[in-house]
Amino acid sequence: MEITGFTRTILKHGKPDISEQVSKASRLFGKIEYQTVLQGQRKATTDHLYLDNLKEKIDKFNRDGLVFTPCQRSGFYQGFAHKHKEVKPGEPYYWFGAVTRTVEDGLIFKEAEAKNDSQTIGGLLGYPECCTKYFSKTFSGNYDPVWCGHSDVVGEPEINILLRYFGIRIVSHLPCSPYCEGTLKIARERVDIANKIDPETTEWVLEYLSSPMTWNSYHGVVEVDTPDFLGLTHTYPFMDKPRIIIWNKHSIG
């Protein structure tokens, strides 16, 4: 089943317009991704380069002493993508690649990417081993494996990935469960970094990720119902009935 990739956020009547905060959260996440490599918490992150951002990004990598290793081309998409999009002749494309501190790590990443070696890639990206194994096990059957086996969750907001499609998130990987200790450790390190970059937005992100929400995936579209908006995006198509995850209200301790 093929659905044109999309993300939409539909505001609820009488609720505040949070689009500016969402944009800030998305930018903050991008900065966290970068800083964790720059500061040595992990060996690699990924990025997409295209004609319009090529110079700006390469200049920044050079200034910071980082290396970009192109791995493969991907067709353009808007919003969120689960997989690389096929490049069609004559149409614009990105270069997807690894951003690392060393050339060696970049080359290892590239080779692992070519071999679909999730274990090596997960290691370079600093993901917990349990989550990398979970990804390897689930992704071929479901390319959006959100907390498989869980439906009613009271978790720590740092781990909440239900709004990742819209840019509101702390961690970049798919945790093996909403209670993964390895993920929580990484997430808290990332919150420390985020607080140094933009404490106000960090606080908003954590508050939002702790609020009650419902993730409902059916027929290739996931709806995430939050207090202020309904988020929609394309996803793995559950056919016979919706798969639902209820994220319960959680107080930040």
Partner: protein, 373 residues
């Protein structure tokens, strides 16, 4: 089409009304700011048809109704209202004449057929007003909801057929929508198919122009003048209707916003069509359906389990009517073509440039020229 819904309050509150959910969700459904609504009307950039809707719009009171119709008239050269007709009196009729108002009245039949809406004496008064307004030269159309009250038995259905015929003889037509808001009032799947099939035969063989039968006829002939039900509706950007609420904010057709009321998304997406065309029918989709090109899964507000990612729950009924229309078109047994009136071939000055009509709105009048054409 813009649907102005300054108030969702209603003096009837029928059990099957889809707006009951909205009314139960908030106490603010009756609050409005008329000056903000008037300002919003004036600021609209296009001149699509603007329909004063509700709730029951006449509960706004004559001063407010006059102000709204006047503003719409000054902007577009005509105006429209959809009402249950209970409060219509001479003063309102004069107001409608003054502002060239097309009047859509919701009435499920005469006598006892309309019992889910109101009693027989009020029903008689409303019917009489419909005829009176038509006689005075106003554009009048009718929306009837098919339920157990008017189609639960064959004898009631026969009376309902006569109701449609009598109105048609007075050059009044409109829509026949299935009741979906209350299981106690709704016809079951089997009965709905029987009822719509019978009405389809009745309308096609007598040349009566009632939606959705005219729409089904049109869409199968490649004619774009089709109600929104069959037009790939995006519930977050309902093309056929943009609703303006009492606080002047914009939302979508309110049939589809039951759990929460969402603001209008700026862009229209075809996601539902993409899904339904690929999901097997056994899982709520339309894959390989012979009527897909015409139906596109039907109205999302009537989707199976209330989930817009499924096809309409009225699928069986629509398939039956599509089948009848196809047979008639193949063998040419219709008394006359159901949708060929001269004025209907034109887009009236109030909008509908793409031919799409809204299931809850004043339909484009098939027997008259709206807006001074």
């Amino acid at each position: 089409m813009y649907l102005l819904k300054p108030t969702l309050d209603c003096n009837l509150r029928c059990h099957y009304c889809y707006e009951n959910e909205h009314r139960s969700r908030t106490d603010d459904y009756g609050k409005y700011d008329i000056s903000a609504v008037l300002q919003e009307i004036m600021s609209l950039e296009d001149k699509s048809q603007i329909v004063l809707h509700g709730g029951e719009p006449l509960t706004l009171g004559k001063e407010n109704v006059d102000a709204i119709l006047k503003t719409v008239f000054e902007k577009t050269g005509c105006s429209s209202i959809q009402t249950n007709g209970v409060l219509i009196d001479d003063e309102y009729v004069q107001m409608f004449e003054k502002y060239k108002t097309s009047v859509g009245v919701s009435l499920d039949g005469t006598g006892d057929l309309n019992r889910y809406r109101c009693g027989e004496s009020m029903t008689a008064k409303i019917y009489s007003d419909i005829v009176r307004m038509k006689d005075r030269g106003l554009n009048v159309s009718v929306i009837a909801v098919l339920s157990k009250a008017n189609a639960g038995s064959d004898s009631e259905l026969e009376l309902f057929e006569n109701y449609l015929k009598n109105l048609s003889e007075k050059k009044i037509s409109g829509r026949v929508n299935p009741c979906t808001g209350d299981p106690n009032c709704s016809l079951n799947d089997e009965r709905l198919s029987i009822v719509y099939s019978r009405l389809a035969w009745y309308c096609y063989s007598n040349g009566l122009q009632w939606s959705p039968f005219t729409d089904i006829w049109n869409v199968m002939r490649g004619d774009g003048r089709v109600v929104c039900t069959f037009r790939e509706c995006d519930i977050f950007h309902t093309r056929s209707a943009e609703v303006i609420l009492g606080d002047a904010l914009h939302t979508n057709c309110m049939r589809v916003s039951v759990k929460d009321l969402y603001m209008r998304h700026p862009s229209e997406y075809k996601t539902r069509s993409e899904i339904l065309s690929q999901v097997p029918q056994e899982f709520g989709g339309c894959q390989d359906c012979e009527y897909w090109e015409y139906c596109k899964g039907g109205c999302p507000s009537q989707a199976i389990d209330g989930d817009w990612r499924n096809r309409t729950e009225s699928c069986k009924m629509y398939k039956a009517v599509f089948s009848i229309a196809r047979n008639i078109q193949s063998f040419g047994v219709a008394k006359k073509t159901p949708c060929t009136s001269k004025s209907n071939k034109q887009s009236h000055s109030g909008g509908h440039s793409d031919g799409i009509e809204h299931i809850d709105g004043n339909m484009r009048h098939m027997d008259s020229n709206i807006g001074g054409e």
